[in-house]
Symmetry: C2
Subunit: 343 residues, 2 copies
DNA sequence: TTGTAGGCGTTATCAA
DNA sequence: TTGATAACGCCTACAA
């Protein structure tokens, strides 16, 4: 077997220079549309470059420019539908600033997140966008000295864009209260280092109604189906199960509804379930999910703008994003028995 | 506002060399655990590097090595749950070969796919993994001269790993036949340049049973909710609607089931729906989905191995992956009225 | 309008 | 065991 074709040297500006009978520096100028080059020369070189299949070597460029025009996107779970709009917002805004996006999926593991950050650092990215990070606030504060970092959906770090993190959850709680629920379960996400705004909203809402916080009603979701199943089991074994549950996200909510049905418990007749995120499938399941719609696309756009400002020494304006919205569908309803007192 | 901290020069190998009173080349050797360096020196340098927060400059490395240790993953839609296991398989295998994965989401747009490829080319990746590409066979054949490219789930390109692409779909068709269906709808994906193995299996299965191919029963799904809705509408307006539908994938199937229910049509009582991929939620919806389970994780692993072989001039062994499996749940059943003849 | 020269950070090769 | 040197591909002064 002969040497594979791809071991052959790729064409560089020198090759083009030779072919065009000019100096490499002229090729550089021509390729970046510098005015300091004769139109005829520019066209000749452009033609040659296309013809010869020239692809610039980013490594060389990055080396001399000390930056790559790249932005690293560090996400914990790329298949969370939640991130689709985020990524779209980011990319749409990135093209406007001549920035390219590179994604690294950390699968929610802290050490992997660090590795991803280091890879991007080594790649000399112009900035990092980090939604829902695993690493500590301190880590990111220090990192911020090396490269601009903007967080999404986390508000304890130096630079972040987030919408009213508490508002969405408060809406859910209020909705459940209005339906007549008072014993409300809450499913947290994997214990992260952030401030857990949902949890905060949950407790605040409880307090405002004068309802005692009951740790038995708090569950933890790790992103897997099994986890949703387990939570459902625990929940039903309680002496006094909740009449409504505020799930961590829609995937969790959908899985719980299924697990409940498996055990003969109906939603929302026997128990109400509210989700979070409003993923594409949220309206398609049975019953359609009551959930919180989050402005991910706008958050994505804003994060790039924010990053751009940071990178250019401008004082970034406080980002403006829409408020989250409650989407009431059919997975929530009045409690079966109001204020049932045990005993 | 003073200059942001991140404009300050990062620490290089030279800085370490100076601090350790050695030559830069010694630092290089020490950092890569070369045996040709005194243990004491090695430790001293390692300590210094950690202390000073040294991050290697990949641009420089790539420049001299002419390769980056990076593999580009070009995916059409990162939020298709389908890709979760693929990516996991790829990453798990990549670490074994000291390869890092970078992802670029093309959102199913051909021009974006080309840009992604070019970015990776400029980045001097060691190889490309491209599941379900939009670009033509010819494009990839030419590209293959520049860099090793392995395709997943596409079998018309020079290098690919895929399992029995026809088998999974044949199983679905057989299952539907056995239930008594003969008028079976089929939902294609966005018309790609590939061979459409599902479509092929569909037609072959029909022929084998002596059933005429009816173009009215073929629909096209573009990935959106609206598309699933529209298909459902078209389907029901047919003079003689199908008694079963083989959906493009699970997302499509779930959305169609919902759209059918909205119109008062029950699944599987009135119509059977089979999906493809067996995503996490497939078993959680109502009714749980009959679908095809695809060995994505293994395909991911194999694609990296294949790439590695290619990059090292080895003749890649024909990759072995498990056969797809039919998962029979509750969205399929006997047709309501068997062999109803119109008129 | 174009060419010359030097350097970006790292590594491989050769010499010491 | 370590140091010196040249080179990777490109870009930016500066000179012509």
């Amino acid at each position: 077997m002969s040497k594979p074709a791809w071991e052959s040297r790729r064409v560089t500006i020198k090759d083009i220079a030779k072919a065009a009978n000019v100096d490499p520096s002229t090729v550089t100028r021509a390729l970046k549309d510098s005015p300091r080059v004769k139109p005829a020369t520019r066209e000749k070189i452009a033609g040659l470059a296309a013809e010869m299949g020239y692809v610039p070597n980013m490594a060389a460029r990055t080396l001399v420019n000390r930056k790559s025009g790249l932005v690293g996107l560090v996400i914990p779970d790329m298949t969370n539908p939640f991130f689709r709009d985020l990524a779209k917002g980011i990319e749409d805004e990135a093209v406007k600033h001549d920035l390219r996006i590179l994604i690294n999926d950390t699968r929610g593991v802290e050490s992997t997140e660090r590795e991803a950050v280091n890879l991007f650092l080594a790649l000399k990215v112009d900035g990092l966008i980090v939604p829902m990070a695993r690493c500590t606030q301190q880590y990111y504060e220090e990192l911020n000295a090396a490269v601009p970092v903007v967080h999404v959906n986390r508000d304890d770090t130096p630079h972040h864009v987030s919408c009213d993190t508490v508002e969405g959850s408060s809406l859910v709680m209020q909705h459940l209260f209005e339906l007549g629920h008072s014993r409300i379960g809450f499913v947290r996400g994997p214990a992260g280092p952030g401030r857990e705004p949902k949890m905060h909203a949950y407790r605040t809402a409880l307090e405002a109604r004068g309802i005692d916080y009951d740790p038995d009603l708090i569950f933890t979701f790790d992103g897997t189906l099994e986890s949703s199943n387990a939570i459902t089991g625990q929940l039903l074994e309680l002496d006094e199960p909740p009449t409504a549950v505020f799930a961590h996200n829609d995937v969790n909510a959908i899985a719980m509804i299924h697990a409940l049905r498996d055990r003969g418990v109906r939603v929302p007749d026997d128990i109400s379930i509210a989700g979070h995120d409003d993923i594409q499938l949220a309206g398609c399941v049975d019953p359609p999910l009551t959930t919180v719609q989050w402005p991910m696309y706008e958050l994505g756009q804003q994060s790039v703008r924010y990053l751009y400002s940071l990178g250019h020494g401008q004082d970034p304006r406080e980002p403006q994003v829409p408020q989250p919205k409650l989407v009431i569908r059919e997975s929530t309803g009045n409690p079966r028995v109001a204020r049932q007192v045990p005993g």
